[in-house]
């Protein structure tokens, strides 16, 4: 009979909280968007699934051993833990966790020992998060893979498009202002580090957003990653109205001159050039851009094809799976269901819109200053979201002029946007971090 109570008491239904139910539905929604709507399925499928797993009542998959002990332990255990931390056992999980983080290392050790002796261990997703994201390694490996899949040819043929990639990052910083503004008027409560991490959504680059928020605002990582990937998938809906509003039909019909041939040698030297510039000027961006350049060099140098193949296939796939599940662990109800999440979602779409507009306007400005004609539609590709944004430029261009093929021209600002947001990430980490 006692066992029956144990079983029922340990069942999900008996322990389910409203928030967990909502989060499971949100996880199912993400799966639906990924599978049926094709929203960045490589990331949103694992994230959504991880989100469901994280919210299984009583399973504690997203919690550390200590959190599991605090959630499920009996009064005796809680009292023992609280005594090591020098606080009262009844002060709530959150304040016990805070006391733990600020406790002396020997007290932490004692608590961990007690928790482990009581049979509590880290949840599966918590372990994945620790290894993949808290260490910073998974976003870096993804960035290496992205580097190995990137062709800088179009950028090298027309380097001025780097300015478009720069301009589109304005969305990032404008969003930072938005986030601190919401805080100043009291609607939200973001720190400057939170604001910086939220802004990076406007970089339209998943791994960069995850990397920056793992450093600056781990608690917001779930919402930021979901926003970043969702909006990247929504680029074909978000961008065209803005692009049309800011350009005349005539501008959209501008045909661009064919790109010049780019030699293999330039492609090999470019990642090294970028690396040296990063090394000299912006060390804080070195992990992200270093791995990116390394991946690209492996691809272009032609002598390590077996490494390049593995980086583009099994390594990036394995990393993507665990990255996605780890992000899902941050969709646990008591961290995600917070007014700040709504703020993040709202600010994120503003960031995308401003980035798109800035890119288009910069292209128009460059047209004023230079004789070489530039179709302003390729400016919107500067937000990155490779290769979706470049395709959107191409599609909107074709509407205005059926002979106008902008795809390759838009790939330049598109990959420039990746560099641009990694640079922005470096600046933020170096100015705001710690």
């Amino acid at each position: 009979m006692e066992n029956l109570m144990t079983l029922w008491g340990s069942s999900g239904l008996a322990q389910m909280e409203v928030g967990q139910g909502i989060m499971i539905l949100i996880g199912l929604l993400l799966l639906f968007l990924a599978i049926r709507k094709g929203f960045e399925p490589l990331l949103l499928l694992p994230i959504g699934f991880g989100g469901i797993l994280a919210n299984i009542p009583g399973a504690g998959l997203a919690y550390s051993a200590l959190e599991n002990a605090l959630h499920q332990g009996d009064a005796v255990l809680l009292a023992e833990i609280a005594s090591y931390l020098g606080v009262s056992a009844g002060s709530g999980i959150e304040s016990l966790m805070k006391a733990f983080y600020s406790a002396a290392p020997t007290a932490q050790l004692a608590v961990e020992s007690v928790v482990s002796a009581a049979g509590y261990s880290d949840g599966m997703l918590h372990s994945f998060y620790t290894v993949a994201i808290a260490s910073g390694v998974a976003p870096l490996v993804i960035f290496m893979g992205v580097g190995a899949m990137t062709d800088f040819g179009p950028l090298l043929a027309n380097p001025k498009t780097l300015f478009l990639g720069a301009a589109a990052q304005f969305g990032i910083f404008a969003t930072v202002i938005g986030a601190v503004g919401l805080t100043a008027i009291g609607w939200m409560d973001f720190s400057i580090a939170d604001a910086a991490a939220i802004g990076i959504i406007g970089g339209a680059d998943g791994p960069t957003a995850i990397y920056v928020s793992s450093v600056l605002a781990p608690d917001l990582l779930g919402a930021i990653a979901v926003a970043a990937y969702s909006y990247m998938a929504l680029v074909p809906l978000i961008q065209p109205p803005i692009m049309r509003a800011l350009t005349t039909k005539r501008e959209r019909a501008i045909e661009m001159t064919q790109l010049r041939a780019v030699s293999k040698r330039e492609k090999v030297v470019f990642p090294l050039l970028l690396l040296i510039l990063v090394a000299l000027l912006l060390p804080a961006a070195a992990p992200l851009l270093g791995m990116f350049c390394f991946g690209n060099l492996m691809k272009e140098c032609g002598v390590v094809e077996r490494l390049s193949d593995t980086v583009q296939n099994s390594l990036i796939n394995i990393t993507t799976i665990f990255l996605g599940l780890s992000v899902g662990s941050k969709l646990v109800a008591d961290k995600f269901l917070d007014s700040s999440t709504l703020g993040i979602l709202g600010l994120g779409i503003v960031a995308f819109a401003i980035g798109t507009a800035s890119g288009v306007l910069m292209a128009k400005l460059m047209n004023l200053l230079s004789r070489v004609p530039l179709n302003p539609l390729i400016g919107s590709a500067g937000v990155s979201a490779v290769p979706m944004a470049a395709r959107v430029s191409n599609k909107v261009g074709l509407e205005a002029n059926p002979h106008n093929f902008l795809l390759m021209h838009a790939m330049g600002p598109n990959v420039a946007g990746v560099i641009g947001s990694a640079v922005a990430a470096g600046v933020m980490i170096s100015l705001v971090g710690s």
Binding site: E40, T150, G153, A167, V180, A195, Q258, S263, E266, M411
Partner: protein, 85 residues
């Protein structure tokens, strides 16, 4: 307190955006210099045309979608269009 954080945000905007633009401007300059040096002093016998047959940068956002078909269609269309002129 409220103005403090707005001030911090503005600082981030100025220094951040400034660094991004400066860094990419420097990258443009050095890239153009590099290309010129290579084209003049280390030319390659065989070159590849970027505009048409080169496959675009695939999937930096981890969304790997096959663009080759699209490129093939576009290339064919461009050729036809030019022939027609």
């Amino acid at each position: 307190m409220q103005f403090e954080i707005i001030y911090q945000g503005l600082e981030l905007l100025v220094y951040g955006m400034g660094t991004v633009v400066l860094f990419l401007a420097l990258l443009i300059l050095t890239t153009m210099l590099m290309s010129r040096v290579i084209q003049r002093y280390f030319p390659e016998p065989q070159v590849e045309i970027v505009a048409a047959p080169a496959a675009p940068a695939q999937a930096p956002s981890a969304a790997v979608i096959d663009d080759e078909q699209l490129v093939a269609v576009i290339t064919a269309a461009i050729h036809q269009h030019r022939k027609g002129q």
